[in-house]
């Protein structure tokens, strides 16, 4: 199968999905009213509720939802063969992904900007909000573990990467200074910082610079130091922790925000260059198998494929962004489809590109395995992107370092914000009982220590499955909320209800599988201390999420069965 055919299939998925299916539901069922005042216009408090144009919000929504996860999941998922992965990316988005993003957004608009927490409380039950908080907390812990593992133990141990990452950070800080303190024009700031970042990435590939990090890491044979982690991995994760600490405690304008800004340009230019290279090259899949086997290292195809590719098909996190963020900024109800649905379909395109880096960049199945396979998904993506960039004249050494820095900085910009969130959430949760947790530095350090526990102890593939399952469980909850809201409005809801059933059943199965696999390992005679702690942690988290999901299903079922207020009044 040629890559161009895959791109055409993806484009058809977007064209028919958005142009036909989504539009029909929008016009015939939801029926948005362009003249009705949205919460952004009604409240306009200048803090959370401020209207913005649909184009601006599309860019904002897309940037908020499309990032590292849609690039990683497809690369792991092709271990089942290219067909199952591609079908889930396209059909998952077609029937489920855009439904959640758009539905959550329009629900948020019509419910006066209520968050998912408030909506869970009102539409399902009071304890549904607490369950959502549990999902969020574990989800964020697992994200830190998954991304931290990928960055600290895979990407950063390449001695050609750390200096490039440091260059991005320094240029981000410079961008903040130039914009806020020196009041420089944003275009000049962008050009200066982005060009210097590319110079930094190039310097990181030079022998004198990579030799410094090779020496620090103890390469070529980095010794094992702690809990099965090599010296290179320990130092890589510590560098990552320092970055996250700075991002979490420094004022947002001075570090997190401008570093994020510079990273955006590095990532965008890389993706544009990669797509151009792909279109010029037009490689085929070679002998990449249509289907390998039902059960692989990540588990059985059902349910694990559906939690491995999370954000490229459907992601629970999007519902939080759609309600707490974008719904409070929509100028008109009719903007919900192009912004919410449109951004999700564009993210599907992102996932298709990631899929192609794994399936066509290496000549076939053996090439994918040699590049690292599912266990080194980010490394595979970086090398695949380098192969595409090579077709537009980018040298392979630079391309691979660039791809690795690109992924590293994408992960780190998320992680620093997650640590910030966890610090605030921990202060709220336990700050009264443990006053020290209200201290910015203490809260941050505790969050980072938890991260290190996950990163150093739990293997990458295992943690990715758990992260995907918790994310998709949130998606099931969001879809259930949308279905309940539609029912309350007296509108047809099967287009949200059936996807909700599918997501809840599938993720419940995935969590039960993860709990079973991990608890089974505890009794193995040759299990190491690290393996024991990792399996226990993952098993417990999976079980907690299963219990939370079952409570949610019970409450959700009761809410579905409850008559609408109008029906109850008529019966009376």
């Amino acid at each position: 199968m040629n890559s161009i055919i895959v791109l055409i299939l993806g484009a058809l998925g977007i064209g028919i999905g958005y142009g036909v299916y989504a539009r029909r539901i929008n016009e015939n069922i939801v029926q948005p009213d362009p003249n009705k005042a949205t919460p952004a216009k009604m409240y306009m408090d200048g803090v959370d509720f401020t209207p913005a144009s649909r184009n601006v919000l599309f860019g904002y929504q897309f940037k908020s939802v499309a990032a590292l996860a849609p690039l990683t999941g497809p690369v792991i998922a092709v271990q089942w063969g290219w067909l199952p992965a591609l079908v889930w990316i396209i059909l998952g988005t077609f029937f489920i992904g855009w439904v959640q993003d758009y539905g959550a957004m329009i629900m948020g608009v019509r419910r006066e900007g209520d968050t998912m927490g408030a909506l869970s409380y009102k539409l399902i039950s009071p304890r549904a909000r607490n369950i959502l908080m549990i999902f969020i907390y574990f989800y964020l812990l697992l994200i830190m573990g998954a991304f931290g593992n990928a960055v600290g133990k895979t990407l950063m141990v390449n001695p050609k990467v750390p200096f490039g990452m440091i260059a991005v950070v320094l240029m981000g800080v410079l961008a903040g200074q130039m914009t806020y303190k020196w009041k420089q024009d944003i275009i000049i700031t962008t050009i200066v910082t982005v060009v210097l970042t590319f110079v930094g990435i190039w310097i990181s590939t030079l022998p004198f610079m990579s030799n410094i990090f090779s020496a620090l890491y103890g390469l070529p044979d980095s010794p094992t130091v702690f809990m099965g982690n090599t010296q290179a991995q320990i130092l890589g994760t510590l560098l990552m922790i320092i970055f996250c600490y700075l991002g979490a405690v420094l004022p947002i304008w001075s570090f997190a925000q401008p570093v994020n800004y510079v990273s955006f340009w590095i990532v965008s230019l890389g993706m544009v260059g990669g797509v151009l290279g792909l279109l010029i090259w037009r490689p085929g899949m070679g002998d990449f198998p249509v289907f390998t086997q039902f059960t692989t290292a990540s588990g059985p195809l059902w349910p694990m494929l559906f939690v491995t590719i999370a954000c490229g098909a459907i992601s629970g996190w999007h519902s939080l962004v759609s309600t707490s963020g974008t719904a409070r900024q929509l100028e008109q109800e009719t903007d919900a489809l192009p912004v919410g649905g449109g951004a999700m379909f564009m993210e599907m395109a992102f996932a298709v590109i990631a899929f192609l880096t794994a399936t066509v960049a290496f000549g076939g199945w053996q090439g994918y395995q040699d590049a690292g396979g599912a266990g080194a998904a980010l490394g595979v993506f970086a090398k695949g992107l380098a192969a595409f960039l090579g077709r537009i004249g980018v040298p392979e050494t630079f391309g691979t370092a660039y791809g690795s820095v690109f992924l590293t900085i994408m992960a780190l910009t998320i992680m620093q914000l997650v640590v910030r969130f966890m610090r605030v959430a921990s202060a709220e949760l336990v700050g009264d009982a443990i006053p020290a947790m209200k201290n910015v530095h203490v809260g941050t350090i505790v969050a980072l220590l938890l991260t290190l526990l996950f990163v150093w102890i739990i293997p990458w593939l295992a943690i990715w499955g758990a992260f995907g399952a918790s994310n998709q469980l949130m998606a099931g909850l969001a879809l259930l909320l949308i279905a309940l809201w539609l029912k309350a409005e007296g509108r047809r809801n099967t287009w949200a209800l059936y996807p909700s059933f599918f997501m809840i059943v599938t993720t419940l199965a995935a969590l039960l599988y993860l709990a079973y696999v991990n608890f089974s390992k505890l009794g193995a005679p040759d299990i190491t201390t690290q393996g024991f702690i990792a399996s226990l942690l993952l098993g417990v988290i999976a079980l907690v999420l299963v219990v939370a999901a079952v409570v949610l299903i019970v409450d959700g079922w009761k809410a579905l069965q409850a008559p609408r207020k109008e029906e109850a009044a008529e019966a009376a």
Binding site: P70, T115, L132, Q257, L417
Partner: protein, 93 residues
């Protein structure tokens, strides 16, 4: 044709703005809004049951604050939970 190209250029520009510096403007606006709300709380806090400054200052500021009283009250008293904080985090996927 030129008009169409101009509109496409404007659309692309707005999308890029949304992906890049819109968030900066939003954060700055949010910070200004929070400071403004705090100021109104200090000067007109009796609306929500807090002790206030002497009425002289309140009366001097009244013409400026009356237009935003409803918005301020709603923003101050709006129920919040962790999902409000999820706006801090972007780019998970």
């Amino acid at each position: 044709m030129l008009e169409r190209l101009r509109r496409i250029g404007e659309t692309v520009g707005e999308i890029i703005y949304g992906m890049t510096t819109y968030e900066w403007a939003r954060d700055v606006r949010r910070e200004r809004g929070e400071v403004e709300h705090l100021f109104v709380l200090i000067t007109f806090g009796d609306i929500v049951g807090l002790p206030i400054l002497p009425p002289y200052y309140t009366l001097r500021l009244l013409p400026y604050v009356v237009p935003l009283i409803n918005r301020w009250k709603r923003s101050l008293l709006r129920e919040r939970d962790w999902t409000d904080l999820t706006g801090l985090i972007e780019g998970i996927g």
